[in-house]
Protein backbone atom coordinates (compact mmCIF):
# COMPACT_ATOMS: atom_id res chain seq x y z
CA UNK A 1 0.00 0.00 0.00
CA UNK A 2 1.29 3.47 -0.75
CA UNK A 3 2.36 5.12 2.48
CA UNK A 4 1.48 8.80 2.41
CA UNK A 5 4.22 11.27 3.09
CA UNK A 6 3.85 13.00 6.40
CA UNK A 7 2.54 11.92 9.76
CA UNK A 8 -0.76 10.08 10.19
CA UNK A 9 -2.19 12.36 12.86
CA UNK A 10 -2.45 15.95 11.69
CA UNK A 11 -4.57 19.03 12.33
CA UNK A 12 -7.68 19.28 10.18
CA UNK A 13 -6.09 22.01 8.06
CA UNK A 14 -3.19 19.74 7.12
CA UNK A 15 -5.49 16.80 6.40
CA UNK A 16 -7.59 18.93 4.04
CA UNK A 17 -4.43 20.33 2.47
CA UNK A 18 -3.63 16.81 1.26
CA UNK A 19 -6.63 16.94 -1.10
CA UNK A 20 -5.44 18.21 -4.48
CA UNK A 21 -7.70 20.29 -6.73
CA UNK A 22 -9.60 17.96 -9.05
CA UNK A 23 -9.49 15.01 -6.65
CA UNK A 24 -12.39 12.56 -6.52
CA UNK A 25 -13.63 12.50 -2.95
CA UNK A 26 -15.98 9.98 -1.37
CA UNK A 27 -17.68 11.52 1.67
CA UNK A 28 -19.01 9.32 4.46
CA UNK A 29 -22.27 9.54 6.37
CA UNK A 30 -25.74 10.25 5.00
CA UNK A 31 -27.65 13.54 4.70
CA UNK A 32 -27.33 15.33 8.04
CA UNK A 33 -25.88 12.34 9.87
CA UNK A 34 -22.23 11.61 10.68
CA UNK A 35 -20.75 13.40 7.70
CA UNK A 36 -17.20 14.81 7.95
CA UNK A 37 -18.58 18.33 7.70
CA UNK A 38 -15.70 20.06 9.48
CA UNK A 39 -13.40 18.57 6.84
CA UNK A 40 -15.75 19.74 4.07
CA UNK A 41 -15.72 23.30 5.46
CA UNK A 42 -11.92 23.20 5.62
CA UNK A 43 -11.83 22.34 1.92
CA UNK A 44 -13.83 25.53 1.35
CA UNK A 45 -11.50 27.64 3.52
CA UNK A 46 -8.61 26.33 1.43
CA UNK A 47 -10.54 27.18 -1.76
CA UNK A 48 -10.25 23.73 -3.30
CA UNK A 49 -11.48 23.59 -6.88
CA UNK A 50 -12.85 21.09 -9.42
CA UNK A 51 -13.63 18.39 -6.85
CA UNK A 52 -15.46 15.24 -7.95
CA UNK A 53 -17.81 14.43 -5.06
CA UNK A 54 -18.94 10.81 -4.65
CA UNK A 55 -21.70 9.99 -2.17
CA UNK A 56 -24.95 8.03 -2.25
CA UNK A 57 -26.93 10.55 -0.20
CA UNK A 58 -25.18 13.90 0.14
CA UNK A 59 -26.95 17.02 1.37
CA UNK A 60 -25.38 19.81 3.39
CA UNK A 61 -21.87 18.70 2.37
CA UNK A 62 -22.41 18.78 -1.38
CA UNK A 63 -24.61 21.87 -1.12
CA UNK A 64 -22.05 23.98 0.74
CA UNK A 65 -19.27 22.81 -1.59
CA UNK A 66 -21.40 23.91 -4.58
CA UNK A 67 -22.18 27.19 -2.81
CA UNK A 68 -18.43 27.83 -2.42
CA UNK A 69 -17.65 26.86 -6.02
CA UNK A 70 -15.45 23.87 -5.13
CA UNK A 71 -17.27 21.27 -7.24
CA UNK A 72 -16.77 20.24 -10.86
CA UNK A 73 -18.72 16.97 -10.73
CA UNK A 74 -21.05 15.08 -8.43
CA UNK A 75 -21.82 11.37 -8.52
CA UNK A 76 -24.79 10.86 -6.23
CA UNK A 77 -27.95 8.87 -5.64
CA UNK A 78 -30.19 11.33 -3.83
CA UNK A 79 -29.32 14.90 -2.85
CA UNK A 80 -31.42 16.75 -0.29
CA UNK A 81 -31.17 18.56 3.01
CA UNK A 82 -33.76 16.10 4.36
CA UNK A 83 -35.75 16.65 7.52
CA UNK A 84 -38.18 19.42 6.58
CA UNK A 85 -35.66 21.33 4.51
CA UNK A 86 -36.36 19.71 1.15
CA UNK A 87 -34.01 20.28 -1.75
CA UNK A 88 -30.38 21.39 -1.42
CA UNK A 89 -30.68 24.91 -2.90
CA UNK A 90 -27.10 25.69 -3.96
CA UNK A 91 -26.60 22.22 -5.39
CA UNK A 92 -29.90 22.55 -7.23
CA UNK A 93 -28.87 25.89 -8.71
CA UNK A 94 -25.43 24.56 -9.69
CA UNK A 95 -27.07 21.72 -11.63
CA UNK A 96 -29.87 23.79 -13.13
CA UNK A 97 -27.37 26.40 -14.32
CA UNK A 98 -25.02 23.62 -15.47
CA UNK A 99 -22.16 24.87 -13.33
CA UNK A 100 -21.41 21.30 -12.29
CA UNK A 101 -21.59 17.96 -14.05
CA UNK A 102 -24.02 15.51 -12.44
CA UNK A 103 -23.68 11.75 -12.77
CA UNK A 104 -27.05 10.67 -11.37
CA UNK A 105 -27.19 7.23 -9.79
CA UNK A 106 -29.47 5.12 -7.72
CA UNK A 107 -27.73 4.71 -4.36
CA UNK A 108 -27.11 1.07 -5.16
CA UNK A 109 -25.69 1.66 -8.65
CA UNK A 110 -23.13 4.03 -7.15
CA UNK A 111 -22.43 1.34 -4.56
CA UNK A 112 -22.03 -1.22 -7.34
CA UNK A 113 -19.32 0.98 -8.86
CA UNK A 114 -17.61 1.20 -5.47
CA UNK A 115 -17.93 -2.57 -5.04
CA UNK A 116 -16.24 -3.16 -8.39
CA UNK A 117 -13.31 -1.00 -7.24
CA UNK A 118 -13.18 -2.68 -3.82
CA UNK A 119 -13.34 -6.15 -5.40
CA UNK A 120 -10.69 -5.33 -8.01
CA UNK A 121 -12.95 -6.00 -10.98
CA UNK A 122 -13.82 -3.63 -13.84
CA UNK A 123 -17.60 -3.73 -13.35
CA UNK A 124 -20.28 -4.93 -10.96
CA UNK A 125 -23.73 -6.34 -11.71
CA UNK A 126 -26.60 -4.72 -9.82
CA UNK A 127 -30.20 -5.80 -9.27
CA UNK A 128 -33.06 -3.74 -10.63
CA UNK A 129 -32.53 -0.68 -12.88
CA UNK A 130 -34.77 -2.30 -15.51
CA UNK A 131 -36.77 0.37 -17.29
CA UNK A 132 -34.95 3.28 -15.69
CA UNK A 133 -33.75 6.16 -17.88
CA UNK A 134 -30.66 6.29 -15.64
CA UNK A 135 -29.21 3.35 -17.58
CA UNK A 136 -29.44 5.20 -20.89
CA UNK A 137 -28.26 8.44 -19.31
CA UNK A 138 -25.12 6.79 -17.92
CA UNK A 139 -24.62 4.51 -20.94
CA UNK A 140 -24.67 1.45 -18.70
CA UNK A 141 -24.49 -1.93 -20.39
CA UNK A 142 -26.79 -4.85 -19.67
CA UNK A 143 -25.65 -8.44 -20.01
CA UNK A 144 -27.66 -11.59 -20.54
CA UNK A 145 -26.66 -14.22 -18.01
CA UNK A 146 -24.23 -16.42 -19.94
CA UNK A 147 -25.16 -19.29 -17.60
CA UNK A 148 -28.58 -19.62 -19.14
CA UNK A 149 -30.96 -18.19 -16.56
CA UNK A 150 -32.19 -15.84 -19.26
CA UNK A 151 -31.86 -12.93 -16.83
CA UNK A 152 -30.73 -9.56 -18.11
CA UNK A 153 -28.59 -7.75 -15.57
CA UNK A 154 -27.23 -4.22 -15.60
CA UNK A 155 -23.55 -3.73 -14.87
CA UNK A 156 -21.89 -0.56 -13.55
CA UNK A 157 -18.25 0.38 -14.20
CA UNK A 158 -15.83 0.59 -11.27
CA UNK A 159 -15.76 3.83 -9.29
CA UNK A 160 -12.48 4.28 -7.42
CA UNK A 161 -12.32 7.54 -5.45
CA UNK A 162 -8.92 9.11 -4.89
CA UNK A 163 -9.79 9.63 -1.24
CA UNK A 164 -12.56 8.54 1.12
CA UNK A 165 -13.15 10.84 4.10
CA UNK A 166 -14.98 9.11 6.94
CA UNK A 167 -16.25 10.65 10.15
CA UNK A 168 -15.87 8.11 12.95
CA UNK A 169 -16.89 8.20 16.58
CA UNK A 170 -13.54 7.04 17.83
CA UNK A 171 -10.00 6.50 16.58
CA UNK A 172 -7.04 5.11 18.50
CA UNK A 173 -3.44 6.29 18.32
CA UNK A 174 -2.67 3.72 15.61
CA UNK A 175 -5.39 5.15 13.38
CA UNK A 176 -8.06 2.47 13.61
CA UNK A 177 -11.59 3.87 13.43
CA UNK A 178 -15.00 2.72 14.65
CA UNK A 179 -18.56 3.95 14.34
CA UNK A 180 -21.62 3.54 16.58
CA UNK A 181 -24.97 2.89 15.00
CA UNK A 182 -25.15 2.45 11.24
CA UNK A 183 -21.99 3.07 9.23
CA UNK A 184 -24.21 3.89 6.25
CA UNK A 185 -22.09 3.35 3.10
CA UNK A 186 -18.77 4.10 4.75
CA UNK A 187 -17.44 0.56 4.75
CA UNK A 188 -17.54 0.10 0.99
CA UNK A 189 -16.28 3.67 0.45
CA UNK A 190 -13.24 2.92 2.59
CA UNK A 191 -12.52 -0.26 0.63
CA UNK A 192 -13.02 1.32 -2.79
CA UNK A 193 -10.89 4.43 -2.34
CA UNK A 194 -7.14 4.71 -3.00
CA UNK A 195 -6.66 6.53 0.31
CA UNK A 196 -8.70 6.84 3.50
CA UNK A 197 -8.79 9.86 5.80
CA UNK A 198 -10.56 9.72 9.16
CA UNK A 199 -12.05 12.57 11.12
CA UNK A 200 -12.75 11.34 14.64
CA UNK A 201 -14.89 12.79 17.39
CA UNK A 202 -12.39 11.63 19.97
CA UNK A 203 -9.49 9.34 20.75
CA UNK A 204 -10.05 5.99 22.44
CA UNK A 205 -7.43 3.66 23.85
CA UNK A 206 -5.75 0.99 21.73
CA UNK A 207 -6.71 -1.36 24.54
CA UNK A 208 -10.41 -0.65 24.04
CA UNK A 209 -10.00 -1.62 20.36
CA UNK A 210 -8.10 -4.78 21.30
CA UNK A 211 -10.91 -5.69 23.69
CA UNK A 212 -13.51 -5.53 20.90
CA UNK A 213 -11.72 -5.69 17.54
CA UNK A 214 -15.02 -6.74 15.92
CA UNK A 215 -16.24 -3.14 16.30
CA UNK A 216 -13.45 -1.67 14.18
CA UNK A 217 -14.78 -0.44 10.85
CA UNK A 218 -11.51 0.71 9.29
CA UNK A 219 -8.18 -0.85 10.28
CA UNK A 220 -5.28 1.55 10.70
CA UNK A 221 -3.15 0.12 7.88
CA UNK A 222 -5.78 1.37 5.41
CA UNK A 223 -5.73 4.89 6.87
CA UNK A 224 -3.31 7.57 5.65
CA UNK A 225 -4.48 10.50 7.76
CA UNK A 226 -6.47 11.22 10.92
CA UNK A 227 -7.69 14.41 12.56
CA UNK A 228 -9.51 14.64 15.87
CA UNK A 229 -12.40 17.09 15.61
CA UNK A 230 -15.00 17.02 18.39
CA UNK A 231 -18.43 17.98 17.04
CA UNK A 232 -16.96 17.71 13.52
CA UNK A 233 -20.24 16.49 12.00
CA UNK A 234 -21.96 19.78 12.95
CA UNK A 235 -24.56 20.94 11.96
CA UNK A 236 -25.36 17.27 11.44
CA UNK A 237 -25.67 14.56 14.07
CA UNK A 238 -23.15 12.07 15.39
CA UNK A 239 -24.94 9.27 17.18
CA UNK A 240 -25.01 8.87 20.13
CA UNK A 241 -23.06 12.04 20.98
CA UNK A 242 -25.23 14.80 19.52
CA UNK A 243 -28.26 15.43 17.32
CA UNK A 244 -28.82 17.59 14.25
CA UNK A 245 -28.57 21.31 15.06
CA UNK A 246 -31.68 22.31 13.11
CA UNK A 247 -31.48 26.04 13.87
CA UNK A 248 -27.92 26.04 12.50
CA UNK A 249 -29.10 24.30 9.32
CA UNK A 250 -31.91 26.86 8.99
CA UNK A 251 -29.32 29.58 9.43
CA UNK A 252 -27.14 28.04 6.76
CA UNK A 253 -30.10 27.97 4.37
CA UNK A 254 -31.19 31.57 4.91
CA UNK A 255 -29.98 33.62 1.94
CA UNK A 256 -29.41 36.57 4.28
CA UNK A 257 -26.77 34.54 6.10
CA UNK A 258 -23.30 34.90 4.57
CA UNK A 259 -21.36 31.69 4.01
CA UNK A 260 -18.40 33.24 5.85
CA UNK A 261 -20.48 33.72 8.98
CA UNK A 262 -21.56 30.10 8.89
CA UNK A 263 -17.94 29.00 8.45
CA UNK A 264 -16.78 31.03 11.43
CA UNK A 265 -19.63 29.67 13.57
CA UNK A 266 -18.29 26.13 13.04
CA UNK A 267 -16.84 24.23 16.01
CA UNK A 268 -13.59 23.32 14.21
CA UNK A 269 -12.61 27.01 14.21
CA UNK A 270 -11.90 26.72 17.93
CA UNK A 271 -8.16 26.17 18.36
CA UNK A 272 -8.40 23.44 20.98
CA UNK A 273 -10.01 20.85 18.71
CA UNK A 274 -6.75 20.18 16.88
CA UNK A 275 -4.57 17.36 18.12
Amino acid sequence: MPIDPGPKFVPLSELAARVPDGASLAIGGSFLHRGPNAFVRELIRQQKRHLDIIKQSPGYDLDILCRAGCVAKARAGIVAMEGNFGLAPWYRRAVEQQQIELEEHACMTLTAGLRAAAFGVPFQPVGGVHGSDLARLNKWVSITDPYGSGQQVWIVPAIRPDIAVIHVNEANELGDGRVYGTYNWDRIMSRAAKRVFLVAERMASVRSFQDQPELTLIPSFMVQGVSIVPHGAWPGSCWPLYEVDYPAVEDYLSPQRALETHLTDAPETKEHVFV
Binding site: S57, A80, N84, L87, T109, G128, H130, S132, D133, G181
Partner: protein
Protein backbone atom coordinates in the same frame (compact mmCIF):
# COMPACT_ATOMS: atom_id res chain seq x y z
CA UNK B 1 -53.23 17.60 17.62
CA UNK B 2 -56.51 19.29 18.52
CA UNK B 3 -59.44 16.93 19.11
CA UNK B 4 -61.89 18.95 17.03
CA UNK B 5 -60.04 18.17 13.80
CA UNK B 6 -62.00 16.16 11.22
CA UNK B 7 -61.75 12.36 11.24
CA UNK B 8 -59.49 12.68 8.19
CA UNK B 9 -56.96 15.45 7.82
CA UNK B 10 -54.83 15.37 4.68
CA UNK B 11 -51.92 14.41 6.90
CA UNK B 12 -53.68 11.62 8.78
CA UNK B 13 -55.19 10.39 5.51
CA UNK B 14 -51.74 9.90 3.95
CA UNK B 15 -50.05 8.38 6.99
CA UNK B 16 -52.95 6.08 7.87
CA UNK B 17 -53.49 4.81 4.35
CA UNK B 18 -49.77 4.14 4.00
CA UNK B 19 -49.96 2.18 7.25
CA UNK B 20 -52.85 0.14 5.85
CA UNK B 21 -50.47 -1.35 3.25
CA UNK B 22 -48.47 -3.04 6.03
CA UNK B 23 -49.15 -6.78 6.34
CA UNK B 24 -48.46 -9.35 9.07
CA UNK B 25 -44.96 -10.90 9.31
CA UNK B 26 -43.67 -9.06 6.27
CA UNK B 27 -40.31 -7.33 6.01
CA UNK B 28 -41.21 -3.66 5.63
CA UNK B 29 -38.81 -0.80 4.97
CA UNK B 30 -38.86 3.00 5.26
CA UNK B 31 -36.05 5.12 3.83
CA UNK B 32 -34.56 8.59 3.64
CA UNK B 33 -36.62 11.69 3.04
CA UNK B 34 -39.69 9.64 4.02
CA UNK B 35 -41.43 11.09 7.06
CA UNK B 36 -44.94 9.79 6.21
CA UNK B 37 -43.81 6.16 5.72
CA UNK B 38 -41.67 6.35 8.86
CA UNK B 39 -44.76 7.48 10.78
CA UNK B 40 -46.89 4.87 9.00
CA UNK B 41 -44.59 2.02 10.01
CA UNK B 42 -44.40 3.20 13.61
CA UNK B 43 -48.18 3.71 13.56
CA UNK B 44 -48.83 0.19 12.24
CA UNK B 45 -46.82 -1.19 15.16
CA UNK B 46 -49.16 0.58 17.57
CA UNK B 47 -52.50 0.39 15.77
CA UNK B 48 -52.64 -3.18 14.49
CA UNK B 49 -52.77 -6.52 16.27
CA UNK B 50 -50.23 -8.27 14.05
CA UNK B 51 -46.46 -7.91 14.09
CA UNK B 52 -44.17 -7.30 11.12
CA UNK B 53 -40.42 -6.79 10.62
CA UNK B 54 -39.71 -3.08 10.49
CA UNK B 55 -36.39 -2.14 8.90
CA UNK B 56 -35.30 1.42 8.23
CA UNK B 57 -32.50 3.32 6.54
CA UNK B 58 -30.94 4.19 9.90
CA UNK B 59 -30.00 0.53 10.28
CA UNK B 60 -32.93 -0.12 12.60
CA UNK B 61 -34.30 -3.64 12.96
CA UNK B 62 -37.51 -3.67 14.98
CA UNK B 63 -36.35 -0.48 16.74
CA UNK B 64 -37.89 1.14 19.79
CA UNK B 65 -36.95 4.79 19.21
CA UNK B 66 -37.10 6.96 22.33
CA UNK B 67 -38.28 9.88 20.18
CA UNK B 68 -39.80 10.40 16.75
CA UNK B 69 -37.19 12.23 14.66
CA UNK B 70 -37.75 14.98 12.08
CA UNK B 71 -35.33 13.19 9.76
CA UNK B 72 -36.48 9.73 8.65
CA UNK B 73 -32.83 8.63 8.50
CA UNK B 74 -31.99 9.82 12.02
CA UNK B 75 -29.90 7.24 13.92
CA UNK B 76 -32.44 7.39 16.76
CA UNK B 77 -34.53 5.15 14.48
CA UNK B 78 -32.11 2.32 15.27
CA UNK B 79 -32.47 2.80 19.02
CA UNK B 80 -33.45 -0.41 20.77
CA UNK B 81 -32.50 -2.52 17.76
CA UNK B 82 -30.74 -5.79 18.48
CA UNK B 83 -28.82 -5.48 15.19
CA UNK B 84 -27.67 -2.78 12.79
CA UNK B 85 -28.75 -3.66 9.25
CA UNK B 86 -26.72 -1.26 7.14
CA UNK B 87 -27.41 0.17 3.68
CA UNK B 88 -25.69 -2.54 1.68
CA UNK B 89 -27.54 -5.14 3.71
CA UNK B 90 -31.09 -3.89 3.14
CA UNK B 91 -30.48 -3.13 -0.54
CA UNK B 92 -29.09 -6.61 -1.10
CA UNK B 93 -32.04 -8.06 0.82
CA UNK B 94 -34.32 -6.22 -1.61
CA UNK B 95 -32.52 -7.18 -4.82
CA UNK B 96 -32.47 -10.87 -3.81
CA UNK B 97 -36.22 -10.81 -3.23
CA UNK B 98 -36.42 -10.54 0.55
CA UNK B 99 -38.09 -7.14 0.84
CA UNK B 100 -41.87 -7.55 1.03
CA UNK B 101 -42.94 -3.92 1.31
CA UNK B 102 -40.77 -0.93 0.50
CA UNK B 103 -41.86 2.70 0.83
CA UNK B 104 -40.26 4.94 -1.79
CA UNK B 105 -40.56 8.65 -2.54
CA UNK B 106 -41.58 10.19 -5.86
CA UNK B 107 -42.12 13.60 -7.44
CA UNK B 108 -44.15 12.41 -10.42
CA UNK B 109 -46.08 9.15 -10.77
CA UNK B 110 -47.63 7.88 -14.00
CA UNK B 111 -50.54 5.52 -14.57
CA UNK B 112 -48.28 2.47 -14.54
CA UNK B 113 -46.87 3.49 -11.17
CA UNK B 114 -43.49 4.42 -12.58
CA UNK B 115 -41.81 7.43 -10.97
CA UNK B 116 -39.71 10.49 -11.66
CA UNK B 117 -37.56 11.88 -8.86
CA UNK B 118 -34.84 13.27 -11.14
CA UNK B 119 -35.89 16.41 -12.96
CA UNK B 120 -38.83 18.50 -14.15
CA UNK B 121 -38.29 19.37 -17.78
CA UNK B 122 -35.36 18.14 -19.82
CA UNK B 123 -32.92 16.23 -17.60
CA UNK B 124 -29.97 18.06 -19.21
CA UNK B 125 -31.58 21.51 -18.85
CA UNK B 126 -33.94 20.96 -15.94
CA UNK B 127 -36.60 23.47 -14.94
CA UNK B 128 -36.32 21.89 -11.50
CA UNK B 129 -33.51 19.61 -10.45
CA UNK B 130 -35.07 17.06 -8.08
CA UNK B 131 -33.28 15.01 -5.39
CA UNK B 132 -32.54 12.13 -7.75
CA UNK B 133 -32.45 8.38 -8.13
CA UNK B 134 -32.18 7.30 -4.52
CA UNK B 135 -33.56 3.85 -3.87
CA UNK B 136 -36.18 3.71 -6.59
CA UNK B 137 -34.40 2.48 -9.70
CA UNK B 138 -33.11 -0.56 -7.81
CA UNK B 139 -35.81 -1.13 -5.19
CA UNK B 140 -38.97 -0.46 -7.18
CA UNK B 141 -38.35 -3.29 -9.66
CA UNK B 142 -37.04 -5.72 -7.02
CA UNK B 143 -39.17 -5.22 -3.90
CA UNK B 144 -42.20 -7.53 -3.76
CA UNK B 145 -44.39 -4.46 -3.25
CA UNK B 146 -43.46 -0.79 -3.32
CA UNK B 147 -45.73 2.02 -2.16
CA UNK B 148 -45.33 5.77 -2.59
CA UNK B 149 -47.17 8.94 -1.57
CA UNK B 150 -47.60 12.47 -2.82
CA UNK B 151 -48.58 15.34 -0.53
CA UNK B 152 -49.94 17.14 -3.61
CA UNK B 153 -52.60 15.47 -5.74
CA UNK B 154 -52.55 17.31 -9.06
CA UNK B 155 -51.97 16.83 -12.77
CA UNK B 156 -48.39 18.02 -12.11
CA UNK B 157 -47.66 15.13 -9.76
CA UNK B 158 -49.90 12.37 -11.13
CA UNK B 159 -49.09 12.54 -14.82
CA UNK B 160 -49.81 10.76 -18.05
CA UNK B 161 -46.17 10.99 -19.14
CA UNK B 162 -43.16 11.33 -16.86
CA UNK B 163 -40.53 13.94 -17.74
CA UNK B 164 -37.95 11.28 -16.88
CA UNK B 165 -38.39 7.65 -15.81
CA UNK B 166 -36.19 7.37 -12.74
CA UNK B 167 -37.71 4.10 -11.61
CA UNK B 168 -39.88 1.61 -13.47
CA UNK B 169 -41.43 -1.59 -12.27
CA UNK B 170 -44.60 0.01 -11.06
CA UNK B 171 -45.80 1.02 -7.61
CA UNK B 172 -48.16 -1.38 -5.90
CA UNK B 173 -49.81 1.54 -4.15
CA UNK B 174 -49.97 5.33 -4.26
CA UNK B 175 -51.45 7.49 -1.50
CA UNK B 176 -52.33 11.17 -1.87
CA UNK B 177 -54.30 13.53 0.40
CA UNK B 178 -57.50 12.51 -1.38
CA UNK B 179 -57.02 9.08 -2.92
CA UNK B 180 -55.53 5.60 -2.64
CA UNK B 181 -54.45 3.86 -5.85
CA UNK B 182 -53.38 0.23 -6.19
CA UNK B 183 -51.89 -1.60 -9.15
CA UNK B 184 -53.99 -4.05 -11.14
CA UNK B 185 -52.64 -5.58 -14.35
CA UNK B 186 -49.79 -3.05 -14.49
CA UNK B 187 -52.11 -0.03 -14.21
CA UNK B 188 -52.98 2.02 -11.18
CA UNK B 189 -56.66 1.81 -10.35
CA UNK B 190 -58.50 3.79 -7.72
CA UNK B 191 -59.03 1.76 -4.56
CA UNK B 192 -60.71 4.46 -2.46
CA UNK B 193 -61.04 8.21 -2.16
CA UNK B 194 -61.34 10.74 0.62
CA UNK B 195 -65.02 10.79 1.71
CA UNK B 196 -65.02 14.61 1.78
CA UNK B 197 -64.28 14.93 -1.94
CA UNK B 198 -66.11 13.60 -4.98
CA UNK B 199 -64.87 10.99 -7.42
CA UNK B 200 -65.04 13.71 -10.10
CA UNK B 201 -62.58 15.83 -8.14
CA UNK B 202 -60.15 12.93 -7.94
CA UNK B 203 -60.50 12.42 -11.71
CA UNK B 204 -60.06 16.14 -12.49
CA UNK B 205 -56.95 16.37 -10.36
CA UNK B 206 -55.30 13.21 -11.77
CA UNK B 207 -53.18 13.47 -14.94
CA UNK B 208 -53.57 9.83 -15.93
CA UNK B 209 -56.75 7.93 -16.66
CA UNK B 210 -57.67 5.20 -14.20
CA UNK B 211 -60.34 2.62 -13.58
CA UNK B 212 -62.56 3.45 -10.60
CA UNK B 213 -65.02 0.59 -10.96
CA UNK B 214 -64.37 -1.00 -7.58
CA UNK B 215 -63.48 2.22 -5.76
CA UNK B 216 -65.27 3.19 -2.55
CA UNK B 217 -64.91 6.08 -0.14
CA UNK B 218 -61.98 5.43 2.17
CA UNK B 219 -63.13 3.92 5.44
CA UNK B 220 -62.70 6.31 8.35
CA UNK B 221 -59.73 5.91 10.70
CA UNK B 222 -60.32 3.50 13.52
CA UNK B 223 -60.03 4.68 17.10
CA UNK B 224 -56.74 2.76 17.37
CA UNK B 225 -55.37 4.36 14.21
CA UNK B 226 -56.28 7.81 15.50
CA UNK B 227 -54.80 7.05 18.92
CA UNK B 228 -51.62 5.63 17.40
CA UNK B 229 -51.05 8.67 15.20
CA UNK B 230 -51.85 11.01 18.09
CA UNK B 231 -49.30 9.21 20.23
CA UNK B 232 -46.67 9.71 17.52
CA UNK B 233 -47.53 13.35 16.97
CA UNK B 234 -49.02 14.51 20.29
CA UNK B 235 -48.61 18.24 19.64
CA UNK B 236 -49.30 18.06 15.90
CA UNK B 237 -45.80 19.16 14.96
CA UNK B 238 -45.45 16.61 12.16
CA UNK B 239 -48.88 17.57 10.86
CA UNK B 240 -47.92 21.26 10.81
CA UNK B 241 -44.52 20.51 9.23
CA UNK B 242 -46.25 18.59 6.46
CA UNK B 243 -47.94 21.89 5.48
CA UNK B 244 -51.03 20.26 4.00
CA UNK B 245 -54.16 22.32 3.82
Amino acid sequence: MSDDRPAWSSFSYIVTNLARFVRPDEVTFSGVNSTPPMLACLMAKRAYDFDFVYLNVAGGVQPRPSKIPISSSDPVLAEGSTAIFTNEDFYDLCTRGGMDLCFLGAAQVDGRGCTNVSAIGDWHRPKVRLPGGGGGAVMLPTARRAVTWRTEHSTRTLVETLDFVTAAGGMHGVVTPIAVFVKRHDRLVLQSWHPDVTLDTVQERTGFSFDATDATPTSLPTARELAALRSLDPDGQFERDAQLQ
